[in-house]
Symmetry: C2
Subunit: 514 residues, 2 copies
C-alpha cells in the first residue's frame, strides 16, 4: 500500500494547535468531574454552597475555553483541507468532526446561562437529596421548575429540527443524533412486547424463591465481596477506586483515575453486586479509552447509550448468567459462609433473576427496568415541551406507574424523587438507559458468535477475553463512529430490539415455566 | 461617637470591584486545595500524572487572575483615598493592604515558573512518597535538586532585603515579615535552654513508665475515639471531615468545608490522638474564620506560625494536660476497656508526656520537637543559599541529629526523607512550627489569666470557652493584624520564649523529679 501524501503544513499545524486547546478545555472539565464526585461521596453537608460557586466558576472558564474563536478558526483551517479530512475514520478527521459538533453547540450558549445552570444544578441537587430523605416533593418543586426553565432556554439556544421538538436539542448532549421521535419509534413496539412478557411472568404460577435476597449479610463483608468481583471482571484498582453514595455512579478524571460508587443494603447483597458490576462496566469502558487520545474525541466515549451498553452487559448479560454464578457461587461461600450457600445454586441463580414490578428504577430487574425508563422519558419530554406543569408531575408519575407496572406509588421518595438526574440538570438522559440495554444485548450476541464458549469462560472466572473484545471493538475507537454506526460496525446490523427480547425470553421461559 | 464620613464613591466602587476579583482568584485556589487533599487521601496511584496537569492548569489560571492589571489599578484607586485607608484595622484597609502585598509578589513571578513549580511539586511529591517507602534518597535527589533550583529562581524574582538572603524571600509566603536572621535570633538562645532541659530530663533517673504507649488497640476503635475527642473539643463535622493519610494535615476549601487527616499505629493510640487534636486545632481556626470574609484577607489566617499556635495549643497545652486527661481517661475505658485503664491515670498522663529524643518529627514530644525544626531550618537555609549541595544533604542531616539529639539516624526513611514539605515545593516553612509552639504558650498563658479555671473546665469536658476565646481573640480577625502585632494585641507583649520554657519546666520538673 502506497503511503498517502503528507498533509499540507498549514492544516497539520492548525490541527496540532487545535488539539492543545481542546485538551486544555477537557483538562479543566476533568477537574469539575472531581468536584462532582467529591460532592457525592466526601463533601461535608455544609460545603454545598461553596461547591456550587466552585462549579459555576469552572463551568464559566470551561465555556470560555471551549468557545474560544481561535478554535473556530483552527477548525475551519483543518476542514478546508480536503486531503486532511479525506478518511472520515482517521484520527484527525474524527477529532475535527467532533470538536466542530461541540464547538457549534457551545458557541450557541451564553456564558451566563452556563454558569447559572452549573450553580442551580449543584444547589438543586442538594435540595433534592434533602427532599428525597423527607419524601417531600414540594421542597424540590421550585428547584425543578428552575431547572426545567433553564433547560428550555438551553434548548432554545440550540434549536431543533423542522419536525422536532425542544427535547431533541437537550438529548444531543447525551445521545448525539437521537430525537424524541427516534426514541418513540423504538420504545412504542418494545413496550408492547415487554408488557406481554411481564404479564406472562407475573401471572405464572412458577417463580424462583426469593430466600437469597433476604439473608442479612454484614456490609463490610459485602464491600470486600463486590470489590473482589469487580476486580476479577477487569476493573483496575491501581487506576480507580470504589466508594459509597446514595445513588451509584461512575465518574473520574482520566483513564488512569476512574471512580465507581455503590451502595449497600444489609439484606440484599445482589443490589450491591449488581450496582458495582454495572458501574465497573462503565469504569472498564473509561479505563479502556486510549491514553494517547485522552482529552480529545478519539479518547472519549461515543454516547451515553453506548456507555450504558457496557455497564448493562457486565451487570446483566454477564452478572445474571448461569455461567457467572457457577463461578460466583463458591465465592459467596468464601465471603459469607454456609448461611448463603445452603440456599443452593439453583435458588441463588433464580433469585438474581426474579422479575417483580416495583417502584425503584435502580433496583429493577432486567425486564421491568425499561418500563421505568419509558415513564421518565414521557414525563421529561412533556415538561420540556410545556405540556406538563412541574406541580402536576408527581400525579402523572403515579398514574403511569399504575398503568405500566400496575403499582400504587406509596410516596414521592419511592416515586418521582428517586432519581438524581433531573436534580443535576440532566434532561434527555433517561432513554439512554434503555438504548443501552438494547445495544448490550446486540453486542453480546455478536461476542457470543465470536467466542461461543464465553459462558464456560465465566464459569472458570475468565473474563479477560470479553473485556479485550470490548476494548478492541468499542473502547479503543473513542468517538470514531457515532452510536448507530458503531452498532453496524460491530454487529453488522442496525440496532433492533430482537436481541434483548431473545435474551430475556431465553432466560425467563425456563425460570417461569412459560 | 460621630460616624465617620462615608468613603468617596470612586474608592468604594473600586473596592467593591477589587473584592469581586480577589474572591474569584481565591475561589479557584480553593479548588486546587481540594485536588491536593484528594491526591493525599483518595486518588488512585496511577492518577498522579493527570493530577499534576490539573494542578498546573489551575495554578496558571490562578496566577493570571491574581496578577490581572485591573487588580493593580483598583488597588491604586483605593490607596489614593486617604480617608478610605484612614483606619488601618478597618476591614477595607486590611483587605487593600494584604491584597497589595500579595499582588506585588505575584506580579514578580512569571507564569511559566508558577506552572513549572506546580507541576514539578505534584510529581516530586509522588516520587518522594515512593522514595520514602523504599528509604532511597537517590530516587528523590533529582527532584529535590529541581525543587531547590526552582525555589532559588522564585526567590530571585521576589528579591530580599539589603542584609537579607534568598531564604527570606521564600519564607514570606508562610510567615510574612519574618527573615532568617529573625528566626536565628529566636532559635539560638532557645536552643541552648532547650538543650539544657533535654540533658536534665534524659539524665534523670526518674521517668514515667511507657506502658500506655505499647498497648495494641484496634485501629477502628482508635478512629472512633479520636473522632469523638475532636468533636468534643469543638471541631464541627457538619463542616468538615477526617480521613487517613501518610502525613497528617488540615486542608479544605472554605470555613464550611475543612478536612483533617490523621494516621494510626496499632500500639500507639496517642500518636493518632495527638495528630488528630493537632489537625483539629488547625481546623477549628479555619472553621472560626468569618464566612462573610472568606476569600479575602479578612477571612484568611494570619500566618503559618499563628496557624500552628492553634494546632499546638490543642495538641499540647490542652491535650497533654492533667485536666484534659482527667476527662479523657474514663473515655479511654469506654472505647478500649480495662486493658488500658488498668495502667492507671498517673501512668497514662506520664506516658503522653514522656520526653525521648527520637528520629521522627511528627512523633516527637513537646520538648525535643523544636530541635527537629532547627535541623531543618539550618539545612533548607543552606540549600537555598547554595552553601549546601543537595547530594550532601543526608550526611549533614545525620550529623545534626547526632549533634542536637544525640541520635544515629538509621536510614533516610527515618531521616531526611521523613517530611512532605520539601517534596511539595515548600521551603521556608519549617520554622513556623517552632514559632507556633512559642505563640501557643504565650496565648495560652493569657487565656489562663482570663479564665483561671480552664484546666477544671477541661476536667469536666468543657472546651467551648477556650474555643470561643480563640474565635474572638484570633480567628475572627483574619489578617487584620500581622503575627507579631496580633501577639501584642492578644497578650500585651511581644513574642518571647519564656512562656514556652515555663510551660515545659512546670510540667516536666515533677514528672522527671528535676
Amino acid at each position: 500500500m502506497a503511503p498517502s501524501a503528507p498533509p499540507t503544513t498549514s492544516s497539520a499545524t492548525a490541527y496540532d494547535e487545535l488539539i492543545v486547546l481542546v485538551k486544555q478545555a477537557s483538562l479543566l472539565e476533568s477537574t469539575s468531574y472531581l468536584l462532582g464526585w467529591d460532592q457525592e461521596t466526601m463533601m461535608p453537608p455544609r460545603g454545598v454552597e461553596h461547591r456550587s460557586r466552585q462549579q459555576a466558576q469552572l463551568a464559566s472558564i470551561h465555556h470560555r475555553l471551549a468557545t474560544d474563536p481561535r478554535v473556530g478558526d483552527l477548525l475551519a483551517a483543518c476542514e478546508s483541507d480536503q486531503q486532511f479530512m479525506a478518511d472520515p475514520a482517521a484520527v484527525a478527521a474524527v477529532n475535527v468532526r467532533e470538536v466542530r459538533r461541540r464547538y457549534d453547540r457551545y458557541t450557541k450558549l451564553p456564558t451566563e446561562l452556563v454558569e447559572e445552570l452549573a450553580q442551580v444544578s449543584t444547589l438543586a441537587h442538594h435540595q433534592w437529596a434533602e427532599a428525597r430523605k423527607a419524601s417531600d416533593f414540594d421542597r424540590f418543586r421550585p428547584w425543578l421548575e428552575k431547572i426545567v426553565e433553564l433547560n428550555r432556554r438551553k434548548a432554545e439556544c440550540f434549536g431543533w429540527g423542522k419536525d422536532g421538538e425542544p427535547w431533541d436539542a437537550l438529548a444531543e448532549d447525551y445521545e448525539p443524533g437521537c430525537t424524541a421521535a427516534d426514541v418513540e419509534a423504538v420504545f412504542r413496539p418494545l413496550r408492547t412486547r415487554l408488557q406481554d412478557l411481564i404479564t406472562a411472568v407475573t401471572t405464572s404460577s412458577t417463580r424462583p424463591p426469593n430466600a437469597f435476597n433476604e439473608i442479612p449479610l454484614p456490609i463490610d463483608r459485602q464491600e470486600a465481596f463486590v470489590r473482589d468481583v469487580s476486580r476479577c471482571i477487569g476493573f483496575d484498582y491501581s487506576r480507580g477506586r470504589l466508594d459509597r453514595s446514595t445513588h451509584p455512579f461512575c465518574s473520574g478524571t482520566h483513564c488512569h483515575d476512574v471512580r465507581l460508587t455503590t451502595r449497600f443494603q444489609e439484606a440484599f447483597v445482589n443490589d450491591a453486586l449488581g450496582s458495582t458490576m454495572h458501574e465497573a462496566g462503565h469504569g472498564i469502558y473509561e479505563q479502556g479509552l486510549l491514553e494517547e487520545h485522552i482529552g480529545t474525541p478519539m479518547g472519549s466515549a461515543v454516547s451515553l447509550g453506548i456507555h450504558e451498553s457496557q455497564s448493562r452487559m457486565w451487570e446483566n448479560q454477564v452478572g445474571r448468567s448461569r455461567g457467572f454464578w457457577r463461578w460466583c457461587f463458591p465465592k459467596l461461600g468464601e465471603y459469607f459462609g454456609d448461611s448463603v450457600t445452603s440456599v443452593g445454586f439453583d435458588d441463588v441463580y433464580g433469585a438474581v433473576n426474579i422479575i417483580k414490578p416495583d417502584f425503584i428504577r435502580v433496583e429493577a430487574d432486567e425486564l421491568t427496568y425499561n418500563m421505568h425508563i419509558m415513564v421518565r422519558f414521557e414525563i421529561e419530554r412533556a415538561m420540556i415541551s410545556g405540556d406538563l406543569a412541574v406541580p402536576d408531575m408527581p400525579a402523572v408519575w403515579n398514574l403511569k406507574y399504575k398503568d405500566y407496572l400496575g403499582l400504587d406509588v406509596p410516596d414521592d421518595r419511592r416515586g418521582c424523587l428517586q432519581d438524581i438526574h433531573w436534580s443535576s440538570g440532566s434532561i434527555g438522559y433517561f432513554p439512554t438507559y434503555t438504548l443501552g440495554n438494547l445495544y448490550a444485548a446486540q453486542f453480546f450476541e455478536t461476542a457470543l458468535d465470536a467466542m461461543p464458549d464465553l459462558y464456560e469462560q465465566f464459569e472458570r472466572g475468565e473474563f479477560a477475553n470479553l473485556k479485550q473484545w470490548l476494548n478492541e471493538k468499542i473502547h479503543a475507537h473513542g468517538e470514531r463512529y457515532g452510536a448507530s454506526e458503531l452498532c453496524r460496525h460491530v454487529t453488522g446490523k442496525p440496532l433492533t430490539a430482537d436481541p434483548l427480547l431473545r435474551h430475556l425470553e431465553q432466560k425467563l421461559k425456563p425460570l417461569y415455566d412459560l
